[in-house]
C-alpha cells in the first residue's frame, strides 16, 4: 500500500474506499435516497426476483444513482411476481409487477430518473393499520 504523503492523497484514498461502506452510511437515512424493495418470497424467487434484484443493484450503481436495494417478503401480489416497490424521496411507495430485466431498465430510466409513471403499476388496494 502506498503511503499518504499529502492531504490530497488522503482525499483520493477516501474516494477509493468510501463506496465500500456507502451502504452503511446510507442505512442511517434511507428516506433521502431511492429505496428499491424486491419481493423475495418463494413466489418472487421462483419468478426470477433474484435476477431482478441483482440487475437493480448492478445497474443503479453503474448509472450512478444513489439508491438502496433491499429484499422484502411477499407483498401479496403473487400473480404479478416479480414485484418491486420503489420509494422516491418524499413520495409514496409505488409497486410495479411483472418486473424482468427489461422492465427494470424502463423503471430506472423513466420512473427513477425522470419521475414518469410507467405501465405495470399495481394500485394499492388495501389499508394497513
Amino acid at each position: 500500500m502506498d503511503g499518504i504523503k499529502t492531504l490530497a492523497d488522503l482525499k483520493k484514498k477516501q474516494e477509493e474506499v468510501r463506496s465500500r461502506i456507502d451502504l452503511r452510511n446510507r442505512a442511517e437515512s434511507p428516506e433521502s435516497i431511492v429505496q428499491v424493495k424486491v419481493a423475495m418470497a418463494t413466489c418472487g424467487i421462483a419468478s426470477g426476483a433474484k435476477e431482478v434484484m441483482e440487475y437493480f443493484v448492478e445497474e443503479l450503481d453503474k448509472r450512478s444513482i444513489d439508491a438502496v436495494v433491499t429484499q422484502t417478503g411477499c407483498m401479496g401480489y403473487c400473480f404479478a411476481e416479480p414485484t418491486v416497490e420503489i420509494t422516491m424521496p418524499g413520495k409514496e411507495p409505488m409497486v410495479f409487477g411483472y418486473v424482468n430485466a427489461r422492465k427494470a431498465d424502463e423503471i430506472i430510466e423513466r420512473y427513477i430518473k425522470e419521475g414518469e409513471l410507467v405501465d405495470g403499476i399495481i394500485p394499492q388496494n388495501y389499508n394497513t393499520i
Binding site: 499518504i4 465500500r20 461502506i21 451502504l23
Partner: protein
C-alpha cells in the same frame, strides 16, 4: 472493486465477544462461503453497538435488521432465511417491551431514538481493524486540515471555542489545558491518553478504543501539533486485551500509511504513539498518579502544582486527556466549534457517553446530548427498571459520585447540575438501583472499593476511609448507634477537605449522598435494626407464623442456641436476642411456618422484657 449488496455487521466488543460473538462471526462467514455468497455479502466485525443487554448483536444492512442474542447455531438460519430468501428471522428480532412487537428496523428502537452519537460515531459501523473503513468515515481528515491549514494556536482556539470539557470526570476545559501545556517551553513534551478506566461498571473508553481506535490516535496527533509534542503515550490497563490488540493494529496501519511517524502529510510535523500498560489501579486514573506509574514509579498522586502541563512525564510538560475527550476532537475540527457548541447546555457542550448498568432493562452503552434528563436516559433509552420494580436511585460518577433519587430525575444532566445534586459527572458510569437495593449496603460497596484502591499515601484517605467502612459495616450488622451517623458525616467531610488527590477528596461522596437522600434508611438500620430491602442479612429475622405453626417441637429440638420457646401444640416463638440465624429451624419445619423477614413482631419481645 467488488460491490457487496449486503453487509453483515457482527458486534465484536468485549461484551458480545464474551457471549460467543466470534463464533457467531465464524459460523456466519463459513455459511456464506458454503452458499457461494461471499461476492455479495460482506461480513465484518465491528465495535460495540451499545445494546449489550441483548448481545451478541448482528446487524444486517441495507435494511437495518437488528438481530439480538444470536447464537452460533442461528447462523445457518440467518443466511438461509434472511440472506437467501429475504425473510427476517422473527424470533431473533428485537421485541419492543411496551408493544410486544418485533422491531424490523433498528432506527425505530427506543434505545437509539434519543441518542446522538459523536464520540461513538463509528462504533458498530466500521471494522476497527481496517484503516480503510476508518478513512472512508473521515479519519485523519481533521489532522490533514489542521496540519496544512491551521496554526497550533488557531486549532487550540477552535477547541476552546467549542466548549469541550474533559470527559474523564472533572470537566476541565480541554482547550485551556492544551493552551497551558503549549505555553511551557521544553525540548520534549508529551501527549498522554488516559485509558485507565476504573469505575465499577464503566466501559465507555474501552468501547471507543475497541470500536474506533483511529479517532483517538488522530486526536492525539492533533493535540501534539497544538502543544508542540512529538510523542504520544496511551496509558491503558492490561485487563483490556482486546482494546490493546486493536490499538496496536491501528497504530501499525497508521504508521504504514504515513499517518503517524515522520513528516505527516508532507509537513514538518512528526508524531508517534506508543502504549504503556497499567496494572489496573483505580488511583492511576488520577493524572499525577498515572504519570508516576508510566515512569515506573509507584502509582501514587502528588500534590498540584506543579501541574502536568508544567512538569509531567519525565519532568516534561505533559497534556493528559481522556479517551472520550480525544474521540470528540476530530469531529469538532471538521464540523467547527459552532456546530459542537450548539449541542448541549450553556456550560456543558456536546454529548456524553454513559454506561448503563444495574437494574435496568437495556444495559449498554449510550451517548446523549448534555442536558438530557435522567428520566429520559433511564426510562426511554434504558427501557425502565427491570422486572417492573420501583426505581429507587441512580448512582452516577462511580465511587467518586453519589446517588440521585426520584426527585432528581428531571434534572438536565451536565457537569454543574450533577454536582449541585450531590453527585458528579464522573467518567460516565450509571448504575440504576431499585427498591430491593439497600442504600447503606450500596455505600458500603463503594467504600469497600475505595479502601481496596486507596494508594495509602495520605492519612485521611488511608485511615479515614477504613474507619468509614467499619462504621458502615457495624450499621449493616445491626450494631450501629446514633453517634455512628454523626461520625460518618463528620469524618466524611474531613476526608473530603484534607485528602491529597481526587480519589480521597471524593471518596466519602457515596456515603454523604446516601446520608443526604436516604437518612431514613440509615435511621431504620440504627434504631429499628431493620433493613427495608432485606439486603442486610444480619437484620433479617426468622419468624414463626401463628397460623401455620402446629406446635410440633421439631424446630425447638434442632435450635442450637435454644432460642425457640413454646410447649407441644402451642405456637412457638423465637427469641431474637439469642437467635444466631443459622436457619436450621426453617429447614426442619414441614408446615412452612418459619420465614425470613425484615421485621418481627416487637410487641411480644417488649412484653418478655
Amino acid at each position: 472493486m467488488s460491490q457487496y449488496n449486503t453487509h453483515l455487521l457482527v458486534c465484536a466488543g468485549t461484551g458480545c465477544h464474551s457471549s460467543e460473538s466470534s463464533l457467531v462471526y465464524e459460523m456466519l462467514r463459513d455459511e456464506i462461503m458454503r452458499k457461494g455468497l461471499d461476492k455479495d455479502v460482506q461480513i465484518i466485525r465491528t465495535g460495540c453497538f451499545g445494546f449489550c443487554e441483548k448481545g451478541p448483536i448482528v446487524k444486517i444492512l441495507p435494511d437495518n435488521t437488528f438481530y439480538t442474542q444470536v447464537k452460533p447455531a442461528d447462523a445457518k438460519e440467518i443466511v438461509d432465511e434472511h440472506i437467501i430468501k429475504g425473510r427476517k428471522v422473527t424470533r431473533l428480532l428485537y421485541t419492543d417491551p411496551e408493544t410486544a412487537e418485533h422491531i424490523l428496523d433498528s432506527r425505530h428502537m427506543g434505545f437509539y431514538k434519543k441518542q446522538l452519537r459523536i464520540a461513538l460515531r463509528n462504533c458498530g459501523i466500521i471494522d476497527p481493524e481496517n484503516i480503510d473503513e476508518s478513512i472512508a468515515r473521515d479519519a485523519y481528515q481533521a489532522l490533514g486540515k489542521v496540519l496544512t491549514g491551521l496554526t497550533p494556536q488557531e486549532t487550540t482556539e477552535v477547541i476552546k471555542k467549542s466548549g469541550l470539557r474533559g470527559r474523564g470526570g472533572a470537566g476541565f476545559p480541554t482547550g485551556l489545558k492544551w493552551e497551558f501545556t503549549a505555553r511551557n517551553k521544553a525540548v520534549q513534551k508529551y501527549v498522554v491518553c488516559n485509558a485507565d478506566e476504573g469505575d465499577p461498571g464503566a466501559f465507555m473508553d474501552r468501547s471507543i478504543l475497541e470500536g474506533d481506535p483511529h479517532s483517538v490516535l488522530e486526536a492525539m496527533a492533533i493535540c501534539g501539533y497544538c502543544i508542540g509534542a512529538t510523542k504520544g503515550l496511551i496509558y491503558i490497563r492490561a485487563e483490556y486485551p482486546m482494546a490493546i490488540k486493536r490499538l496496536k493494529i491501528a497504530i501499525a496501519q497508521a504508521r504504514e500509511l504515513g499517518l503517524l511517524g515522520e513528516h505527516i502529510f508532507g509537513t514538518g510535523f512528526c508524531f508517534d504513539i506508543s502504549l504503556k500498560y497499567g496494572a489496573g489501579a483505580f488511583v492511576c486514573g488520577e493524572e499525577t498518579a498515572l504519570i508516576h506509574s508510566m515512569e515506573g514509579k509507584r502509582g501514587e498522586p502528588s500534590s498540584k502544582p506543579p501541574f502536568p502541563a508544567q512538569c509531567g512525564y519525565l519532568g516534561k510538560p505533559t497534556c493528559v486527556n481522556n479517551v472520550e475527550t480525544f474521540a470528540n476532537i476530530p469531529v469538532i475540527i471538521l464540523r467547527g466549534a459552532d456546530w459542537f457548541s450548539g449541542i448541549g447546555t450553556e456550560k456543558s457542550k456536546g454529548t456524553k457517553v454513559f454506561a448503563l448498568a444495574g437494574k435496568i432493562n437495556n444495559v449498554g452503552l449510550i451517548e446523549v446530548p448534555m442536558g438530557t434528563t435522567l428520566r429520559e436516559i433511564i426510562f426511554e433509552i434504558g427501557g425502565g427498571v427491570k422486572n417492573g420494580k420501583k426505581f429507587k436511585a441512580v448512582q452516577t460518577g462511580g465511587p467518586s459520585g453519589g446517588c440521585l433519587t426520584e426527585k432528581h430525575l428531571d434534572t438536565p444532566i451536565d457537569y454543574e447540575s450533577l454536582l449541585a445534586a450531590g453527585s458528579m459527572m464522573g467518567s460516565g458510569g450509571m448504575i440504576v438501583l431499585d427498591e430491593d437495593d439497600c442504600m447503606v449496603s450500596v455505600a458500603k460497596f463503594y467504600l469497600d472499593f475505595i479502601v481496596e484502591e486507596s494508594c495509602g499515601k495520605c492519612a485521611p484517605c488511608r485511615i479515614g476511609n477504613k474507619r468509614l467502612y467499619e462504621t458502615l459495616e457495624r450499621i449493616t450488622a445491626g450494631k450501629g448507634v446514633q453517634e455512628d451517623i454523626e461520625k460518618l458525616k463528620n469524618l466524611g467531610s474531613v476526608i473530603k477537605d484534607t485528602s491529597l488527590c481526587g480519589l480521597g477528596q471524593t471518596a466519602p461522596n457515596p456515603v454523604l449522598s446516601t446520608l443526604g437522600n436516604f437518612m431514613e434508611e440509615y435511621m431504620e438500620h440504627v434504631h429499628d435494626k431493620k433493613c427495608r430491602s432485606g439486603q442486610c442479612r444480619n437484620l433479617l429475622y426468622y419468624v414463626i407464623s401463628e397460623e401455620n405453626c402446629i406446635g410440633c417441637m421439631a424446630c425447638k429440638r434442632v435450635c442450637p442456641t435454644h432460642a425457640i420457646s413454646g410447649e407441644k401444640r402451642e405456637v412457638h416463638q423465637i427469641n431474637q436476642d439469642i437467635c444466631i440465624k443459622c436457619g436450621a429451624c426453617m429447614e426442619k419445619c414441614q408446615f412452612d411456618a418459619i420465614s425470613l423477614q425484615n421485621d418481627y413482631p416487637r410487641v411480644t419481645v417488649m412484653a418478655n422484657c
